[in-house]
């Protein structure tokens, strides 16, 4: 199993570990509920160095990335990022990714740890024109600083004018005296930053961020709370809401797919599906009786199975049992009463608006 450069620090902080995508990662430190609350109310620091980093380089880098991904890189200037997807010609999702336009010759892509090898192969095989695909994952660590206090904590360690960096923009800069790529992105539903850096400086940055955040009650946060945070924000997790047999249109990610682009992998199949309609769609459910939905549980209506749960938990912020899942389009309207088969017992719930949790934007 692989370990991140911060493994010893996690151990010293009392972390409990879990295997994830071939990595031995911290799942919790003080406890998932406390860590979750720290990110919603203050600030949390995550080691997500297991994530992969793949670059497309060359004179044709942007054009190659346009063809490989479903979102429109034409909308990006240098220093801007966008959420996107790699799709197969049949529309199935190879991975969900974050695409950063560094320059007209360099596109920097953050991919899921569990898909890194698959993505790299896929991109290399399908990369056309004057461009090269390079797996740089082994060089990079990634820290995520998330929560309403994140900007204040990071601001003490850099001269970057953080307040003027929009969401989804990124800058290469010094943080605590180390070179890093600072992106105004995250996977928690809170404001925050993701900091890419060389493995060798990750430990120093981690320490500096914890130190800077000590007066803000900063907490190290493991993958357990990362999952509950993203689920409340209804952000998909590959292997749960997304896989090779699921299309973006089914997953409620139509907004990511830019059909205006003349060509990209999956375009024809997705256009056909848009016209024909999807056979199932992602919904959010809240249970109205005691119980917790979990991946694989059947969604039931009038005794018939109409779908399945892909992720579920007891929402720490809302105090309610929430779940994401796929059902036939007929049952996707908000307010639709559906049940979940929990160990042979039908537990009532209903379809709700997504996300389950939306942060209050400052200055509203």
């Amino acid at each position: 199993m692989q370990r991140t450069p911060l493994y010893d620090r996690h151990r010293a902080l009392g972390a409990r570990f879990v295997e994830f995508g071939g990595w031995e990662m911290p799942v919790q430190y003080s406890g998932i509920l406390a860590e979750h609350r720290a990110v919603r109310e203050g600030v949390g620091l995550f080691d997500v160095s297991h994530m992969g980093e793949i670059e497309i380089r060359g004179a044709g880098a942007v054009a190659a990335a346009q063809e490989l991904t479903v979102n429109d890189l034409g909308r990006l200037r240098d220093g801007e990022a966008q959420y996107s997807l790699l799709c197969r010609p049949n529309g199935g999702v190879v991975d969900d990714i974050m695409v950063h336009r560094v320059s007209d010759r360099c596109v920097f892509i953050c991919v899921n740890a569990s898909n890194r090898d698959k993505d790299f192969q896929w991109m290399r095989e399908n990369c056309r024109g004057d461009a090269e695909v390079i797996d740089r994952s082994a060089e990079y660590a990634l820290l995520a600083l998330q929560g309403p206090r994140a900007t204040a904590v990071l601001g003490r360690l850099t001269t970057l004018p953080l307040a003027s960096i929009p969401r989804f923009a990124f800058r290469d800069a010094e943080v605590a005296g180390q070179t890093a790529r600072v992106a105004h992105t995250g996977y928690t539903g809170e404001d925050g930053w993701e900091i890419y850096c060389a493995n060798a400086v990750a430990g120093g940055l981690w320490d500096a961020l914890l130190d800077s955040g000590s007066s803000d009650g900063i907490a190290p946060v493991g993958l357990g709370a990362r999952d509950t945070l993203r689920l409340e924000a209804a952000l998909p997790l590959y292997g749960h809401e997304l896989d090779d047999d699921t299309t973006p249109l089914e997953a409620g990610l139509s907004w990511v797919v830019r059909f205006q682009k003349p060509e990209f992998l999956g375009r024809e199949a997705l256009l056909r599906q848009r016209e024909a309609g999807v056979a199932r769609r992602l919904i959010g459910m809240v249970l109205t009786e005691p119980g917790i939905p979990r991946q694989g549980y059947s969604i039931v209506m009038d005794g018939q199975i109409v779908g399945a749960i892909t992720s579920g938990t007891k929402s720490p912020t809302l105090g309610k049992a929430i779940g994401l899942g796929y059902v036939r389009p007929a049952w996707t309207d908000v307010g639709t009463k559906l049940s979940i088969d929990i160990r042979g017992r039908e537990v009532s719930g209903e379809v709700v608006h997504l996300p389950f949790y939306k942060r209050q934007v400052q200055g509203g």
Partner: protein, 129 residues
Amino acid sequence: MEFPEDLKYSKEHEWVLVEGNTATVGITDYAQDQLGDIVFVELPAIDDKVSKEDAFGVVESVKAVSDIYAPVSGKVLEINDDLPDNPEMLNEDPYGDGWIIKIEMNDPDELKDLMTATEYEEYVAEEKE
């Protein structure tokens, strides 16, 4: 980590307090620590029959679902009604307010299969390795 001397322990990390023919059952300090924040509990009904080493209930942490196993066979005399609304009591006081059910035992001889506090402490130490 606490291992009260007056209790008996199962390999599935339940504890048993024996008073006459009644066995009070809960999960151990080690079990609650391993599970993490417990957010849901499913209990049997009073008068339900439980069998040694069969699941009689469920505890769910934020991340995972775990069965609770009966350390002895018998009939459910009492359940801890406060638990469903306060599942965190299993974390906060596993040997006290976090008790789960009381069983009227069929066969007190089954208690012989359970561990003493010292044996259980060793068992946990081995499992941790």
